[in-house]
Symmetry: C2
Subunit: 166 residues, 2 copies
Amino acid sequence: MSNEFSLGEVQVSLSPQERFEEYLQSRGKRITKPRRALVDHIFRRHDHFDVEELIENLSEDGLEKIGRATVYRTLEELVKAGLLRKMELKGRAIYEHDYGYPQHDHLHCQICSQLIEFHSQELAAIRDAVSREHNFRATGHRFTITGVCFECSRKRHRQQSPHDLI
Amino acid sequence: MSNEFSLGEVQVSLSPQERFEEYLQSRGKRITKPRRALVDHIFRRHDHFDVEELIENLSEDGLEKIGRATVYRTLEELVKAGLLRKMELKGRAIYEHDYGYPQHDHLHCQICSQLIEFHSQELAAIRDAVSREHNFRATGHRFTITGVCFECSRKRHRQQSPHDLI
DNA sequence: CTTTGTGCAAAGCGTTTGCACTATT
DNA sequence: AATAGTGCAAACGCTTTGCACAAAG
């Protein structure tokens, strides 16, 4: 158990950095300064983030010179490498750590936009059962519950859901 | 049972048109020609559709004069009225009938992009249990399984998932 | 007659792409 | 030296918005 990383709850034997380099090597892609800086940065601080947030935060690490295009391109690589998970919310991409983190899904508050993670074993079972029934080869799933979080429902008694507001 | 509409499997007492007019009236919004034409059109033919498809098909019903802006604005109303369900896929909005249709979720083929519907009672149960645990007031959920459908996995032995392609 | 809705074209926003330059191999 | 990656700015695709005109109430 000495050379294992515990980033969340899942044990993995390579650091995200190492895993990314391995991925790059295996595809004949280059290990560059911006790529290294980005993995470091992302796995140092972020949990869920969108590109705009990420770019803003880059200056905290003195990485303001990395261009948007490089950020977008690197994020794509990180997803392909299995380090990040991407999802779409309100028209923009949200990323979160995937490598070394356990499978989970989200509650999404429509008011404050916060994402709350939850774990459910049954979900994977349903996914597999449904996929089998349809001869579908599942590679992943996304389950998102939308509504109003505890804090927001305390604050506002009138809610903003599609069906209300007279 | 005489005045009921069966659009899918759920019995409802108003036609989509009537329901939409009721919704519009209740908000002091006007019942206009384009709005009426759009509900008619949408509930005549479509199942899942995106805005581009919808606009292309409008000419089949002689509705080519309805502008994009009106289409977008009306779709938004139809969602608020509970007639349509909106979801985002690959950066663009997909709509499907909601009113008069049973709750369901989707399998999404990454190759041919088709959406396959499935029904699962357990899913609602999980949603409610998880929400209760987090004091979250759920108003809906979206569960999408991604992968490769039967037809596509027969055709291609090499798949296109994130992790492959040398 | 008042006010909301429409159609058009322009703007907006997140993301992608072409290209000359730079850095890795 | 050869080739892949970077940064910039322009282009993109989908959606929203401002505005003058049309239509509903």
